[in-house]
Symmetry: C2
Subunit: 202 residues, 2 copies
DNA sequence: TTACTTTCTTAACAATTGTCAATGAAAAGC
DNA sequence: GCTTTTCATTGACAATTGTTAAGAAAGTAA
């Protein structure tokens, strides 16, 4: 059991290493220096990574598991904003960049292993390894393109087409996230999603 | 008239200069070297900056005027995806990053003056001025935070609240963009936006 | 100015979604 | 095993939005 965990961590460490290596030509020592700053955090199901009211002062690389970004409406409903899976970087930029209180929660959807890095440590790394700026820029470019596409989906498709799009392009979301969270993520009520699914199966 | 235009260009040039200066400590020579690579382009109303089917191979800084990102639905309707105003950088990242054909159009909403830079020139600048990576990263961070917020609005607010949000946070859009474009931007039909406006005024 | 085009509003009806309440199924805890 | 909780589905009705078509208002050009 001990060995299994060590294997798992070793494997996961290499994943983050690959992530960094593919985006800039760091030397092995540089990559090790960067990775050594990350801290491993294990969270149970439904544990919080970021709570509304607190400042998002770190980023996390998802080694294993999944997380849900959610916002509580004035009526008290929880609305899913986004999801994160293995290989994703997690933070709430609106809070992170301006050091202001977050209006969203980020909680685990299942037991998860994260590699975290504080904002201070990240900025130290930018200072120490200027090539990191490129890694940061490339990750942000990909993230921006992805989320912009997501917003376009909302503007151009109706509810059923959004669900079909999710089935086609993000089946892992439907497999791993409870359906009522998928519904609010699509901007509709769980009952409406049930109806859409029923219509599709006939 | 000649003088007026020169004044205008000089003024506008300094705007882009400020944009660069505030995000990294470039020397005056560096800023001049960077800015000299931009080309000034004047477009009339409803002229195209990017057409669907073509690759987005340049970025543009909006010196004056406004532009509309739009997508044509399978039914042939034009849907506004985003708008750009003075001070914004314009490109379609999905196409720009992967050199694939764009599925959206970017056209001027009014006569506009743009400062354009080709992808090749931009990457040369990243190479020549490593500090540019930081400028790029910072612009992307702001852009990502902004567009992520926009998507959250879609997921958490109903149509009326989205319109009220736009009134409060982006009144310039309502002042300068035709209402039927604002409607599709909000994900609704122009007739629905009219109804919402009528309900609000009673 | 007049004529023309574009944009915005209105109304009636159809279609979709939300709301509320009840039931069934699946998962979690004991 | 059982019980309890959570989640998904269904149906009836209300509320909202889409559709279609018409006309009013605003903007453009001759």
């Amino acid at each position: 059991m001990q060995f299994l965990e060590v294997d798992l961590l070793t494997l996961s460490m290499e994943t983050l290493r690959d992530e960094l290596l593919t985006r800039a030509n760091f030397s092995d020592e540089e990559v090790s220096g960067i990775i050594s700053k990350f801290k491993t955090v294990s969270l149970d199901k439904k544990e919080s990574f970021l709570s509304a009211g607190k400042v998002s002062d770190s980023i996390a690389y998802v080694e294993k598991g999944s997380l849900i970004y959610s916002q509580t409406s004035p009526e008290g409903d929880d609305i899913a904003i986004d999801f994160a899976f293995e290989g994703d970087f997690v933070t709430y930029l609106n809070s992170f960049l301006s050091d202001t209180a977050s209006d969203i929660d980020i909680t685990t959807n299942e037991p998860s292993i994260l590699k975290t890095l504080s904002k201070t440590e990240l900025y130290d790394l930018y200072q120490k390894y200027p090539k990191m700026e490129r890694t940061g820029r490339l990750l942000l470019e990909e993230g921006l393109a992805k989320i912009a596409k997501g917003r376009t989906i909302f503007q151009t498709m109706d509810n059923q087409d959004r669900y079909l799009f999710l089935m086609k392009h993000s089946p892992h979301i439907l497999q791993r996230i409870p359906q009522y969270h998928v519904a609010t993520y699509l901007g509709i009520k769980p009952e409406s999603l049930s109806r859409i699914r029923r219509n599709l199966s006939t």
